[in-house]
């Protein structure tokens, strides 16, 4: 097991290194010039060059990358003389558009995204899986058909439609949310009610889309597992239908959902761009989309990409370990 872990973790580190390199390279070959973008309309070539130096873009890309990696471990110092300042380790760089260390930007955006992801995740997991089980048990009867309607609505409504509908016709119309406070970050530890109020509608929006898929997936898995030979064996043993479902069918039917859920959750942790946009949530999704579309802000783009990638590969690792725990057949010797 230890050997396996060491191997997997080193592979994970290699993947992350390759991802960060690719992001740097892509940025390097793109035709846009951040140095030109940072100064206004009437900009002399000298100022552009000075800006380029200030942004650290006047050195070859491999040197930029080296500085970035070093900053991760020891922090990074910018500017000269009086204007000198330091972003402490782990420094993902400095955003000259936002005038902030990227690490600080991440620190304030991450709790928002985490809150959004956790709540939505729990909601869709609960709704999707239980609806799927009910649909499978009542296959082709009315509960199954009703869940089918839910699935159809959930899968065919994109979040940018369902989100807006929920915001306009539920959240704002009935005064659940004050438009001025929309998306205001409240810590769940200081003001749990306010936190719930901020996130409940984004959760529903996200969960609606995911729960539909999970309902379908659970339903077909439960139905498929029910016809397995070992379920017939369980019945021949004299177990009651309740025990068969709980101990035998669900154990096998829900195992693949662990993989799906882990990766979906990790994906969300990288930021839910559309939902965060609609509900004005200052999370990672909004941070990255602004950096990409408006500011062309390399340090932020690299950092959010790296963060999203890290969540995915780490969650992948966790899911694999968890899966080995669930399914003895994939356990490593």
């Amino acid at each position: 097991m230890l050997k396996y872990l060491v191997r997997r973790i080193s592979a994970t580190l290699v993947v992350l290194t390759l991802i960060s390199m690719s992001v740097f390279l892509i940025f390097d070959v793109l035709p846009m010039d951040p140095a030109r973008l940072t100064c206004g309309k009437a900009c002399s070539p000298a100022v552009v060059e000075a800006n380029r130096h200030r942004l650290g873009l006047d050195v070859p890309v491999q040197v930029q990358y080296g500085r970035w990696v070093k900053g991760l471990f020891v922090g990074r110092t910018y500017g000269e003389g009086q204007a000198q300042f330091t972003c402490p380790a782990p420094a993902f760089g400095y955003s000259f558009n936002r005038h902030e260390c990227v690490t600080d930007l991440l620190k304030s955006a991450f709790p928002v995204t985490l809150s959004l992801a956790i709540g939505a995740f729990l909601l869709w997991l609960f709704v999707g899986v239980s609806l799927g089980i009910v649909a499978a048990r009542f296959k082709n009867r009315w509960p199954d058909r009703a869940s089918n309607v839910f699935v159809l609505v959930g899968t065919s409504l994109p979040t940018f439609i369902s989100g807006i509908l929920i915001l306009l016709f539920v959240a704002l119309k009935f005064g659940f949310v004050n438009p001025i406070d929309l998306g205001k970050w409240v810590s769940p530890f200081e003001n749990p009610i306010g936190w719930l109020n901020t996130f409940i509608f984004p959760w529903i929006t996200l969960a609606l889309a995911y729960a539909a898929t999970y309902t379908r997936f659970t339903r077909s898995n439960v139905i498929e597992t029910s016809s397995e030979d070992y379920i017939r064996t369980a019945r021949a043993k004299g177990l009651s239908e309740k025990v068969i479902l709980r101990k035998h069918t669900l154990r096998a039917a829900l195992a693949p959902i662990v993989t799906l859920a882990g990766l979906d959750f990790a994906g969300l942790l990288g930021g839910a761009i559309i939902t965060e946009g609609i509900f004005n949530l200052p999370g990672l999704g909004r941070l990255s989309i602004r950096a990409v579309v408006n500011d062309y802000d390399l340090p932020i783009i690299v950092a959010t990409t790296m963060l999203a990638a890290t969540f995915l590969v780490v969650m992948n690792l966790l899911v694999d370990i968890l899966y080995a725990y669930i399914d003895p057949r994939v356990r490593v010797a």
């Binding site: 397995e228 030979d229 021949a236 043993k237 003895p328 057949r329």
Partner: protein, 339 residues
């Protein structure tokens, strides 16, 4: 004294969109403790359907089951066909057990062998998980799994096919059932392993004094273990009798055909095996008359075209030997090749 299991006029049919599938029709037989009844027939002849009905493993909502199957328990007789579902469930694994054809898929892949065996034991016995595992280990030893105390902690995928079937047998017998139904227990196994499993079943039968119903399409298996035989065709019993009688003096053209199609060591080399021509009929809208007549090479010997108009009944030909055929004894002797 009546036998342990008495099945009377058991009929199982499935309504489908194409019509009613008559999977097994008017089945009557009995098995007593210490006795092995073999049920022989090709795929779709209704062997498994009948035994699943006795175990109560059909979905009652989508299956029509008529007739009766009475278990003469010490506490009194119970008809498992008409008894409430919950009562039948409590007989499963305790009064009657079943093992299945494919041991590769019949065990839950996520639970250890010990957990699965102890689950079956704890259902009917008071005891914690530890006691269950102890009992599981004893059973594994009994069915001849070496190193049982270590292997009880292992998972199904760590066992070979033959070993898994031994595990299945151990699980079926863990609560000392009075009736064991073995549904083609050796079909999925190697030939060498087959005879080991059959021997094990025989030993276990002696050990527990069980009634055994052995479902198979392999007449070689039947010869090895059966006391009595039911030959089934198209959902009906076409011949019923003691094993020796079936082998040496078959009274139905189908049985004669089956026996002729077995390769024999003493047969002349270069001679072709005799196959039964044609296919079994569809179980939806069975033809009038004898359901075997289209494949029967002797049907034209019967007077008045009787085979096409009248379905033969299961008549006693000799002492405790029944057959569903219009042929006279003289014609049957000729059909057997003079025997």
């Amino acid at each position: 004294m009546s036998a342990f299991l008495e099945v009377k006029n058991l009929t199982v049919s499935f309504p489908t969109e194409d019509g009613l599938v008559q999977a097994s029709n008017d089945i009557s037989f009995s098995v007593d403790r210490g006795e092995t009844l073999a049920v022989v027939g090709e795929s779709g002849s209704g062997k498994s359907v009948t035994s699943l009905a006795i175990m109560g493993l059909h979905n009652r909502k989508s299956t029509n089951i008529n007739g009766s199957a009475i278990l003469n328990l010490e506490s009194g007789p119970i008809d498992v066909i008409s008894a409430p579902e919950d009562q039948v469930r409590r007989l499963r694994g305790k009064a009657m057990s079943m093992i299945f054809q494919d041991p590769m898929s019949a065990l839950h892949p996520y639970y250890s062998i010990g957990d699965q065996l102890s689950e079956a034991w704890r259902l009917y016995n008071k005891g914690d998980k530890k006691a269950g595992h102890k009992r599981a280990t004893e059973m594994l030893e009994l069915v001849g799994i070496p190193d049982a105390s270590k292997r009880v902690k292992e998972f199904p995928h760590q066992f070979s096919g033959g070993m898994r079937q031994r595990v299945m047998i151990a699980m079926a017998l863990i609560n000392n059932p009075s009736l064991l139904i073995a549904d083609e227990p050796t079909t999925a196994l190697d030939v060498t392993v087959q005879s080991q499993i059959l021997q094990l079943l025989k030993d276990m039968q002696k050990e527990f004094n069980m009634a055994v119903i052995l479902i198979t399409h392999d007449l070689g298996v039947v010869a090895e273990v059966a006391d009595r035989v039911n030959v089934m065709y198209a959902g009906k019993i076409v011949e019923q009798g003691v094993a020796d009688g079936i082998y040496y003096k078959p009274d139905h053209p189908y049985t004669i055909g089956l026996l002729n199609s077995i390769p024999r060591v003493d047969q002349l080399e270069g001679k072709r095996l005799i196959a039964i021509p044609g296919q079994p009929p569809s179980l939806i809208n069975l033809p009038q008359g004898c359901s075997f007549r289209k494949r029967c090479t002797f049907a034209d010997q019967v007077a008045d075209n009787l085979c096409a108009t009248l379905a033969p009944s299961l008549d006693m030909k000799e002492n405790a030997h029944f057959s569903r055929c219009h042929l006279t004894e003289k014609q049957l002797v000729a059909a057997r090749g003079g025997k």
